[in-house]
C-alpha cells in the first residue's frame, strides 16, 4: 500500500443541498461550479407540487404532479398545503377546517404533542409526517440527479415561523433521513440568490408571498455580509387565500364551503386556482365552470372583480411592511431595492400593491418560484466551506420571554435581535426548602402571556433546600442560528450546571422523534399495509365465494372453454388471497370480475327463469 498525501486530506465531502419546502411547491437545489442550480424532480420537473396522495392501492405514497391528479378524483386521500398546519395544534386551525378538502382531526387524548392530525382514508398523519414524505422525495430526486447519496440539507422556512414551526420542519427533515444543518428564512435566502452578482452595498426589502405565508424582511448588504435589520409577516396569508376568495365568490350566496363534499371543495379550489393563474398570465377575464352537488354552474371572473377580491387580502401585508420599516429605523425612501419573491408575485395586482406600499417599482425576479431554493443552496455551500465571501446575519422574528407575576410577559429577547441571541435571567424560590421552579416560555408581542404563544415549559429541579429567596439559579436562553431555543441552567453559588428538559408546547420531544425514527415509521407503514390488505381481501371475498358457488354449473352454462378461463382466474385469486400483496389481490379480483360477466348473466337468467316457473 502506497502512502499518499491524499490520505491526510479531508474525505470527499458529501453534498449539502438546499431545500425550499413550500406550501404549494417544493424544490431542491445545489451549488455546482459556483452557481446555484435547481435539481429536477423524479418526475423530470423543476417543481415538486407539495401534494401527497396515499392511494388506496399500492403501498407507497404518491407525490408531486401525479398526486395532484388525485386531488380531485380522490380528495379524501390527498393532502396539500400542509405547511399551513406545521407545528400547529387542532385548536389553532379548527376554525379554518372547512378550507381544507381533507379532514382535520384532533390528536389522541394521550398525545402530549397537541398537534393537529390529517385523516387520509384509514390513515392519520401529522403535518410533520406528510412534510417528511415531501422531503424524502426531494432527497431521492437529488440523489438521482447527483448520482450519490444525499444526507445533509439546508431547509428554508418563512421568516415569521415561530419556534414550534421551525422545530416541526427540522423534525420532518430528520424523519426524511436528512441531517438538517441549518434552517434559514425564505426572504433571507432569496436575498442571497438575488444579491449574489448584484450590488455589494444597499438596503433591500424582500416582499415574499408564497402559497400560504407572507414575509417582509429588510436587509443591509455590506460587501458579502447580508445583515437582516428586521422582519415581519403573517404565517396564514398567501396565494391560497386568493384561491379561497375566488371560491367564495363563485359560490356567492348559494352554498357555503361547509356544505360541499371534500371532492367538490377540491374541484372548486382547483378551478379557482386555475382562473387566478390564467388571469395573471393572460390579463384577461376567465370563465369558471364547475359541477357542484350535481349542478353545473358557470361564472365569468373579470379582471376587475379578481383585483377587488385580491386587494383586501393583499392590503393585510401593509401593516407588516410598515412595522418592519419602523423596526429597522428606516423610511421607505431609504431603501435601494424592493425585491418580490414567490409565485403570487407574478400577479400584476400583487406587484401593484407592493409598489404602492413601498412607493417604488419592484424588482421582479426571473424565477420567483426558484430564488428561495437557490438561496438555500448558496447557504448550503457556505456551510460546506466552499463559499467564504458571503455570510447571513439573521434575526428572531418574535420576542421571546417568560411568564412573570400576574401573567405578564417578561421579554428576554426582543424581536429582531440577531441570532444567535442570548439572554440570562436569575430565578429563586418562593418557599422554604423549595427544590423546583416552573418556568414557562412564550413567544409573541403582547403584554399578557395568555395572548402570546406558549413555546415551552420546563422545571428547574434539584435546587438545594434553603430558605425562600436564597438559591440563585441563572438560566441561559440561547436562540441558535436556526431560530430555535436552547436552555441551560446553573446554580450561581455552586456553579453546578443543571439539566433542563424543555418540553415543546406544540411538537414532538426528541425522544418521540427517536421513537418514530426507529420503530414508529416502520410500524405505521406496516399498519397501513395491513389495512390495505384487509380491505383488498374484504372486497375480493364476496366475488370469490359467488364464483366458487356457481363454478360446478359453469361448463353447462358457458361451455367448457370459457369455464376453464374462469377456473384459471379463480385459482389465481385464491392464490393471491393466500398471499399478502393487496395489489395482486385487487388485480386478480378484477380479472375474475371481467371473465365472469357471461357466467353471471347466465346464472341470473337461470335464477329468474326458475323463479317465474315456480310462481
Amino acid at each position: 500500500m502506497t502512502f499518499q498525501i491524499g490520505k491526510f486530506e479531508a474525505p470527499a465531502q458529501e453534498p449539502i443541498v438546499g431545500i425550499d419546502l413550500g406550501t404549494t411547491h417544493s424544490l431542491v437545489a445545489i451549488v455546482r461550479n459556483g452557481q446555484p442550480e435547481v435539481l429536477p424532480s423524479r418526475e423530470g420537473k423543476r417543481l415538486l407540487p407539495s401534494v401527497v396522495a396515499v392511494d388506496a392501492e399500492g403501498s407507497e405514497p404518491v407525490l408531486g404532479y401525479e398526486a395532484r391528479k388525485h386531488q380531485i378524483r380522490d380528495a379524501r386521500h390527498t393532502a396539500f398545503s400542509v405547511k399551513r398546519l406545521l407545528g400547529r395544534s387542532y385548536e389553532d386551525v379548527k376554525a379554518k377546517a372547512s378550507e381544507f378538502p381533507y379532514e382535520l382531526v384532533p390528536p389522541p387524548a394521550d398525545d402530549p404533542s397537541g398537534l393537529v392530525r390529517i385523516r387520509l382514508g384509514y390513515c392519520v398523519f401529522t403535518a410533520i409526517e406528510i412534510s417528511a414524505m415531501i422531503l424524502k422525495e426531494l432527497r431521492l430526486s437529488a440523489e438521482a440527479a447527483l448520482g450519490q447519496p444525499v444526507h445533509k440539507a439546508v431547509i428554508t422556512v418563512p421568516a415569521y415561523f415561530n419556534d414550534a414551526q421551525r422545530q416541526a420542519t427540522r423534525t420532518a427533515g430528520r424523519l426524511a433521513g436528512l441531517d438538517v444543518l441549518r434552517i434559514i428564512n425564505e426572504p433571507t435566502a432569496a436575498s442571497l440568490a438575488y444579491g449574489l452578482d448584484k450590488k455589494k452595498q444597499g438596503t433591500i426589502a424582500v416582499y415574499d408571498i408564497g402559497g400560504g405565508t407572507f414575509d417582509i424582511s429588510i436587509l443591509r448588504l455590506h460587501d458579502g455580509v447580508f445583515e437582516v435589520l428586521s422582519t415581519h409577516g403573517n404565517t396564514q396569508l398567501g396565494g391560497d387565500d386568493l384561491d379561497q376568495a375566488i371560491a367564495q365568490w363563485f359560490l356567492a350566496d348559494g352554498l357555503s364551503m361547509n356544505e360541499l363534499s371534500l371532492e367538490d371543495r377540491a374541484a372548486l379550489i382547483e378551478g379557482a386556482e386555475r382562473a387566478k393563474k390564467a388571469i395573471g398570465s393572460s390579463g384577461e377575464e376567465q370563465a369558471i365552470e364547475l359541477e357542484l352537488r350535481g349542478e353545473r354552474k358557470r361564472k365569468v371572473l373579470t379582471v376587475e372583480t379578481f383585483n377587488q377580491l385580491c386587494r383586501p387580502i393583499l392590503e393585510k401585508t401593509r401593516v407588516s411592511c410598515e412595522q418592519a420599516l419602523k423596526d429597522a429605523g428606516l423610511s421607505r425612501e431609504e431603501l435601494t431595492d424592493l425585491v418580490l419573491v414567490g409565485g403570487p408575485t407574478r400577479l400584476p395586482i400583487v406587484q401593484q400593491v407592493a409598489s404602492e406600499i413601498f412607493g417604488r417599482t419592484p424588482n421582479t425576479s426571473v424565477h420567483p418560484d426558484e430564488v428561495v431554493a437557490q438561496g438555500a443552496a448558496i447557504q448550503a455551500d457556505i456551510l460546506a466551506g466552499n463559499t467564504t465571501d458571503l455570510l447571513l446575519l439573521d434575526v428572531v422574528p418574535l420576542s421571546l420571554g417568560i411568564e412573570t407575576y400576574g401573567g405578564l410577559m417578561n421579554v428576554l429577547i426582543p424581536r429582531n435581535t440577531k441570532v444567535p441571541a442570548t439572554a440570562r435571567e436569575v430565578f429563586t424560590t418562593f418557599a422554604d426548602k423549595q427544590t423546583g421552579v416552573d418556568i414557562h416560555v412564550f413567544q409573541g408581542e403582547r403584554d399578557q402571556v395568555s395572548e402570546n404563544r406558549s413555546l415551552a415549559r420546563f422545571k428547574l429541579r434539584g435546587i438545594r433546600p434553603a430558605p425562600a429567596g436564597i438559591p440563585r439559579i441563572e438560566v441561559s436562553f440561547l436562540v441558535d442560528a436556526d431560530g430555535i431555543l436552547q436552555v441551560s441552567a446553573r446554580d450561581m453559588e455552586t456553579s453546578q450546571v443543571q439539566s433542563v428538559e424543555v418540553r415543546p408546547s406544540f411538537g414532538l420531544s426528541d425522544a418521540e422523534v427517536e421513537r418514530m425514527l426507529s420503530a414508529g415509521l416502520e410500524n405505521k407503514d406496516g399498519d397501513k399495509a395491513f389495512k390495505r390488505l384487509v380491505d383488498a381481501r374484504n372486497e375480493a371475498e364476496p366475488i370469490l365465494r359467488a364464483t366458487e358457488r356457481n363454478l360446478p354449473d359453469a361448463d353447462e352454462l358457458i361451455g367448457r372453454e370459457q369455464a376453464d378461463v374462469v377456473r384459471a382466474a379463480v385459482r389465481e385469486l385464491q392464490d393471491a388471497m393466500a398471499g399478502t400483496d393487496p395489489v395482486r389481490i385487487r388485480q386478480t379480483r378484477d380479472q375474475v370480475n371481467r371473465v365472469t360477466i357471461v357466467l353471471a348473466e347466465k346464472v341470473l337468467a337461470r335464477t329468474l327463469a326458475r323463479a317465474s316457473s315456480t310462481r
Partner: protein, 172 residues
C-alpha cells in the same frame, strides 16, 4: 470601548462585521460539536454586546447599574400637576359632547414635553461624555439621567393612555 454615549457608529459596525465573519456558526458547520457550540455562544455574546452598544437606553442602564444607582421613583411637582390634569381631562370627556379640543390639547402638550425630555437626555449624555468617567460629577449626571428617563417613561405611558382614551371616545 470608551465609556460614553456617543460611539463611532462606523467603527463599531466594522468591528461587529469583522467579528461576525470570524466567529459566526456558519463558519464552523463542519467542525466538531464542541467547537460549534463555542462559536454559537460567542457569536451570541457579540450580538448582545452590539445590540447594547447601539442602544443608548441600554448603555445608560448599564452605566446606572454599574454606578449602583437604583431606579428609585422620583416624584416632582411637575408630575403631580400633570397627573391632576389627566384626571380632570378624563372627567371632562365624560361630560362634554365634543371632547375633541381638550383631549387634543393635552396630547399636544404631552408630545412637546416628551420632545423636551429627549433633548434634556441628549444634553446629559453630552455632559457625561465631556466629563470625567468617574467621580462625583459623573455620578450626579447619571442620577439626573435616571430621573429624566423615568420622567420620559411617565410621559410616554400617559400619552399612550390618552391615545387609548381618544380611541374609546371615537377620536382615534
Amino acid at each position: 470601548m470608551p465609556r460614553r454615549f456617543a460611539q463611532d457608529r462606523a467603527a463599531l459596525q466594522k468591528r461587529f462585521l469583522d467579528l461576525s465573519r470570524a466567529l459566526h456558526p456558519d463558519r464552523f458547520a463542519r467542525a466538531p460539536e464542541g467547537v460549534r457550540q463555542a462559536s454559537l455562544e460567542r457569536m451570541g455574546l457579540v450580538n448582545e454586546a452590539y445590540r447594547l452598544l447601539t442602544d443608548r437606553n441600554a448603555v445608560r442602564d448599564y452605566l446606572l447599574a454599574e454606578a449602583g444607582i437604583a431606579g428609585k421613583p422620583v416624584r416632582s411637582m411637575d408630575d403631580l400637576e400633570l397627573a391632576e390634569r389627566w384626571f380632570e381631562l378624563q372627567e371632562q370627556v365624560m361630560e362634554l359632547d365634543d371632547p375633541r379640543e381638550p383631549v387634543e390639547k393635552f396630547a399636544g402638550e404631552l408630545q412637546l414635553l416628551i420632545v423636551s425630555s429627549q433633548e434634556r437626555m441628549q444634553e446629559l449624555e453630552k455632559k457625561f461624555d465631556a466629563g470625567e468617567e468617574s467621580g462625583s460629577e459623573a455620578a450626579e449626571t447619571l442620577r439626573e439621567m435616571s430621573a429624566a428617563a423615568q420622567r420620559g417613561n411617565t410621559l410616554r405611558s400617559m400619552l399612550r393612555d390618552v391615545e387609548r382614551l381618544k380611541a374609546r371616545v371615537g377620536l382615534g
